[in-house]
């Protein structure tokens, strides 16, 4: 051993559960991310179903008002931070190294750390249900209702601590993917030859790196107010709680692009593949992504039109918000142009991508409606906004993520899903989604406020609420069908070939699932969609069905490590310590420090282990 001072042997080719715990293989970490995020997506969905049950009729008593507050807070926080973001991360992890022709990410252990830290954040947040009550101030946690004076108990503390831990996980992953994408591309893969999903991931990673520090500071300030009695958001001390809203939305608006850009990337892969045509206007799609990433910083106060920032600020943010719809609209026309005169196959990923375009466009249009400060004043905090965000986040992000699940399913699992089952799933989810959220436009314009736990029967909102709840039930059936379809395909689907879709990018140039080292030989790239082109040039190396042992023998992969897990566990202990007892926090810090030191001194590859070659 190279570290005699740490008399714990390094894991060498572990198997079973231990193999997953110590893994630093980007593909396994991607699977871990995906499965965990999906479980949390289901939990967030159940929370939504309970709320829909409560609202199905006027003046019901399914849950208490206090419970309802916790439900909508947990639903929003879970879906955004624990479901959509990590599902995106699952695709980053699994797909990006394959798309750029790399054998792993730039920092494999940091990657494992990201996953375990994300899991720690998920435990911290959901554990609150069992430790005296979940957070109850909405996913945006507006001050001063999150302050100690108005919100005693630990709910908000768990919310703060989990978002801080999740922030660390997201930042670590974002740094990792920036370096991976910029620095580990196959020879010849210039920036403008990168697949669109890789491009959108790169932009997303930059948004993460720049946006998360802002929410980190906001959360630190809130935490100090609660723990140490500082005055950041205490109006009595002269503080302006609007500062919280500014800091939150300076993060929050880039965050919505963090949620949607990977989705746009997935759709930009699926549409060309199933239209048998290159993406229409590749450079324009890239450029509009960059413009979205840049302009995403100039619009945040559209969440605050009713705060009273004054006519000048409202006008400025109205104009920037209307303007940011332009690059998004450009992308939609590019997607339509991609399909124009293509030979289209309506397989499940394609259906979900088409669903994405349709539903996301509706969400985009309602978004432009409340980009007008005057019009927004009517819509602020009504169900109209709830309809909008679900059209862009469910109809947008989730549809595209499900498209991605089906699209890469053969690559991830080595098996095919059942196509008929996939199509049924699509129609169930599509119908359920629209039935749930379209009526919310009506209830919203009719004046129904969000976040109320019940309403008076005289308001006339019952019919559309009943419709929404029926839609939610249908949606639940659709998600159940998705789970059944995926699990049954995974268990007993027929074996998938390396390139089942006759696809375009490098991940399809290898067996399904890929060998541990990904590429036996790193490819040289000469154009966009190089794999597609090389198939047409007939110089494509045949896809190897199953990698033989010999081939991977001389390829040296980074070895497993448990130190990333140790650091993450330290963070979790530290988080609980800050809430309950500082001595525990010190223990958490010590555990993390031990992990960091051991990690720093642990060589990427154990020289002894490699000496056999």
């Amino acid at each position: 051993m190279t570290m005699p001072s740490l008399a714990i042997p390094r894991p060498v080719h572990p198997t079973g559960v231990w193999g997953w715990v110590t893994t630093i293989d980007h593909k396994r970490i991607g699977i871990l991310y995906g499965v965990t995020a999906f479980v949390l997506f289901v939990i967030g969905g159940v929370e939504a179903l309970v709320m829909r049950a409560q609202l199905v009729q006027a003046e019901l008593d399914v849950v208490s008002p206090e419970m309802f507050n916790q439900l909508f807070t947990m639903h929003g926080t879970t879906m955004i931070f624990l479901a959509i973001m990590p599902m995106g991360a699952a695709f980053f992890n699994y797909v990006i190294p394959l798309q750029i022709g790399a054998r792993d990410v730039a920092f494999p252990r940091l990657n494992a750390f990201s996953y375990w830290t994300f899991l720690a954040g998920a435990i911290m947040l959901n554990g609150s249900w069992f430790l005296g009550g979940a957070p109850n101030a909405g996913w945006f946690g507006y001050a001063p209702i999150t302050g100690a004076a108005y919100n005693p108990g630990h709910g908000i503390d768990f919310w703060i601590m989990s978002l801080q831990i999740l922030g660390i996980a997201s930042l670590a992953a974002a740094f990792n993917f920036i370096v991976t994408i910029l620095n580990m591309r196959a020879p010849g893969m210039t920036l403008m030859r990168m697949p669109l999903f890789t491009w959108m991931t790169l932009i997303t990673a930059f948004l993460l790196v720049l946006a998360f520090p802002v929410i980190t500071v906001a959360l630190i300030e809130l935490m100090f107010d609660r723990f140490f009695g500082t005055n950041f958001f205490v109006p009595g001390a002269g503080a302006n709680p609007i500062l919280w809203q500014h800091l939150f939305w300076v993060f929050g608006h880039p965050e919505v692009y963090i949620l949607i850009l990977p989705a746009m990337g997935i759709v930009s892969e699926v549409l060309p593949t199933f239209s048998k045509k290159p993406l229409f206007g590749y450079p324009v799609v890239v450029l509009s992504g960059l413009i979205i990433g840049f302009m995403g910083w100039m619009v945040w106060s559209h969440h605050m039109f009713t705060v009273g920032l004054g006519p000048i600020a409202n006008s400025v943010f109205t104009i920037t918000t209307m303007a940011i719809a332009v690059p998004t609209g450009i992308k939609i026309f590019n997607w339509l142009g991609t399909m124009w005169k293509g030979s289209i196959t309506f397989s499940t990923p394609m259906l979900f991508s088409l669903g994405f375009i349709t539903v996301f466009t509706i969400g985009g249009i309602s978004g432009v409606m409340h980009s007008q400060a005057a019009s927004d004043a009517q819509q602020q905090d009504t169900y109209f906004i709830v309809a909008h965000i679900h059209y862009v986040l469910f109809g947008g992000s989730i549809f595209a993520l499900i498209a991605g699940i089906y699209y890469w399913f053969p690559k991830f699992t080595g098996r095919m899903y059942d196509e008929l089952g996939g199509k049924i799933t699509f129609w169930l989810v599509f119908a359920g989604m629209n039935l749930t959220f379209f009526p919310m436009h009506f209830t919203g314009l009719d004046g129904m406020p969000r976040r109320i736990y019940t309403y008076d029967s005289a308001m006339g909102w019952e019919f559309w609420n009943l419709t929404s709840t029926a839609g939610a039930a249908l949606l639940a059936v659709g998600i159940a069908a998705l789970i059944y379809n995926v699990v049954s395909g995974w268990v007993r689907g027929k074996q998938a070939p390396g390139d089942p879709w006759d696809a375009r990018t490098l991940e399809w140039s290898m067996s399904s699932p890929p060998p541990e080292y990904n590429f036996a030989e790193i490819p040289t790239v000469t154009e966009v969609d190089d794999w597609w082109a090389s198939k047409r040039r007939k110089d494509a190396a045949p896809v190897i069905a199953g990698a033989s042992e010999d081939e991977g023998h001389s390829i040296h992969l980074p070895q497993p490590s448990y130190w990333p897990l140790v650091v993450s566990v330290g963070l979790l202990i530290g988080g609980y310590g800050l809430i309950y007892h500082y001595a525990v926090a010190a223990i958490g810090l010590a555990v993390s420090m031990v992990g960091v030191y051991a990690w720093s001194f642990e060589p990427v590859n154990d020289p002894d282990e490699g000496s056999g070659h």
């Binding site: 920092f107 920036i178 620095n183 591309r185 520090p213 802002v214 590859n605």
Partner: protein
């Protein structure tokens, strides 16, 4: 060639740049947003405090100038440590990196001293100065203590002897934002000192810190200089501007 050896700098990368160094710069760009948000909070609340000491009451510019100077010089010492290592002088490297860490600790000592001073800040003034414009607003607020027969006000305490005029994070918005901003800078310095000392002690193990592995030191140095430039901003924006109302 699939993976670079630990600390190897000439791995084949797309850009020709080292992975770890690229990560470091991305982190520093990100950390700019962290301090930017803290400075924004400080400035948004500048002059909005209700009661309690203001910057002009507690700041001691000459003392802070000295600690600023120490931190600036530690940056020089850091770059000389790196320079010595790349030229192959392990001994020079050790001397300079140790002096960098010592200057960092000196800066922290100044900060502890300063924080302590602010927490125990007491109001002293001569009553003849009341209304002459030479007292700060905060001092003037105690001018009703100048009754017949009292020539000067000398510290203000309650019946149990507790200082009523100290500045803590709870006192007012200035205390809240000042201690948080400079405290997080201090935390960055502390982390840097731990990092530098770790490398210093590690250098006594043969072959661990070598000119070929200068990147390990380079990364720590980048972090250290970043902490220094953040202080350059804080010194001007918080301390020197501290006495101006409005801006």
């Amino acid at each position: 060639m699939a993976t670079a050896a630990h600390g190897g700098e000439h791995e084949a990368t797309t850009t020709g740049l080292n992975h770890r160094k690229m990560l470091m710069w991305a982190f520093l760009g990100s950390d700019c947003m962290f301090f930017g948000s803290l400075i924004a909070t400080y400035l948004v609340y500048k002059g909005k405090s209700k009661g309690g000491p203001q910057p002009i009451d507690v700041f001691d510019i000459p003392v802070t100038s000295v600690s600023t100077f120490v931190l600036l010089m530690s940056s020089m010492s850091m770059v000389l440590a790196y320079s010595a290592l790349t030229r192959g002088s392990l001994k020079g490297f050790r001397i300079w990196i140790a002096s960098t860490a010592i200057m960092g600790m000196t800066f922290l000592a100044f900060q502890v001293f300063e924080f302590n001073d602010f927490v125990n800040y007491e109001v002293h003034f001569k009553c003849e100065e009341v209304g002459t414009g030479s007292l700060t607003e905060f001092e003037e607020s105690f001018s009703d203590r100048c009754v017949d027969g009292v020539d000067e006000v000398d510290g203000i305490h309650d019946s149990e002897g507790n200082n009523l005029t100290g500045l803590t994070p709870k006192t007012n918005l200035f205390g809240t934002t000042f201690f948080t901003l400079t405290g997080f800078h201090g935390a960055h310095v502390t982390l840097g000192v731990i990092w530098l000392l770790s490398i210093f002690f590690y250098s006594f193990r043969r072959g661990r810190v070598t000119p070929e592995r200068h990147l390990d030191v380079d990364l720590a140095a980048l972090y250290w200089h970043f902490v220094d430039v953040v202080w350059i901003v804080i010194f001007t924006v918080v301390y020197l501007f501290g006495v101006f109302e409005g801006f």
